[in-house]
Amino acid sequence: MPGHVAAGCLALIGVQTLVSDDLEIIRRVLQGEIDSFAELIARYQQHVAKITNRHVPSDRVAEVAHDVFVRAYTSLSSFSGQTPFEHWLSGIAVRTCYDFWRARRREELPVSALTTEHQAWMDHVLAAESDDQFREEARRQEATELLQWALGHLSAENRLVLTLVHLDGYSVREAANMLGWNVVNVKVRAHRARQMLRTLLLERKRQEDDTTQR
């Protein structure tokens, strides 16, 4: 057996063992061994932190990930075991992030303002000639802040769909499964949200150009 095929088989066996282990842990938790839930937290906390980190501000990741596991525990009896626990948990994580933005929208917190440095960043990106230069610009704080500024202008629904489909690169079907929405709804929202992002960037650039010309 060639090496890569053997490695593939071992990886598959590893995944299957993990899935059956998850089911065994879940069974124990449902029978009242609550402390066994800590094993699931240890296994999946990095996975959940990764998802929440892509959707909520860095200083709120721990709080939202906390809510994800408490929610997962309270709805554990509804886990059918037909899909891997990791997928089921991903759906809870994404929906918890959605609730975070819905609650925040109600609070009507102000969207952070942009400075001239953020405005200049777009020119630097467009002027980047090599891939290295381009990546260097993407690593700058201004890039993250400009993205957060733009996302801050979108509704919770559009924000989430845009992040999942256009930024994370999930397919429309995968995003729909995670959100528990239908595929057409996600497709329409993904298109609409991208148009909104483009309009925001264009308006921002136009304003900047007008200011420079004066």
Partner: protein, 105 residues
């Protein structure tokens, strides 16, 4: 100053996507796990019954409408059959008040 045409817009979008993917991975730590487990134990203490009988909560919701109708019928019948007794009791109480001898006598 560069105009933002369709091609340039795509370049900015690509840079923003790259920025999103380059976000630093957070680490949650042992204290975080401890706090989550503490809340889960608290939750379990409150909802111990439903966790011991998986699916019980769903069963309760499915039968909620029937339970509500039964409760209404029961309340209605209790009121109907006891209304006469209530009138008698009220009359008895009012008689008792009438026959109380004032303290001044």
């Amino acid at each position: 100053m560069t105009r933002l045409n369709d091609e340039n817009l795509k370049k900015v979008e690509r840079a923003l996507t790259e920025a999103h993917r380059l976000r630093q991975e957070p680490s949650l730590g042992a204290d975080w796990t401890f706090r989550v487990m503490r809340d889960i134990r608290r939750e379990a203490a409150g909802h111990g019954q439903s966790m011991m009988f998986p699916g019980l909560d769903r069963l309760v919701w499915r039968t909620a409408a029937v339970a509500a109708v039964l409760a209404l019928v029961f309340t209605g019948s209790v009121l109907f059959y006891t209304s006469r007794d209530v009138v008698d009791l009220t009359a008895l109480l009012s008689n008792e008040v009438d026959v109380v001898v004032p303290l001044s006598e």
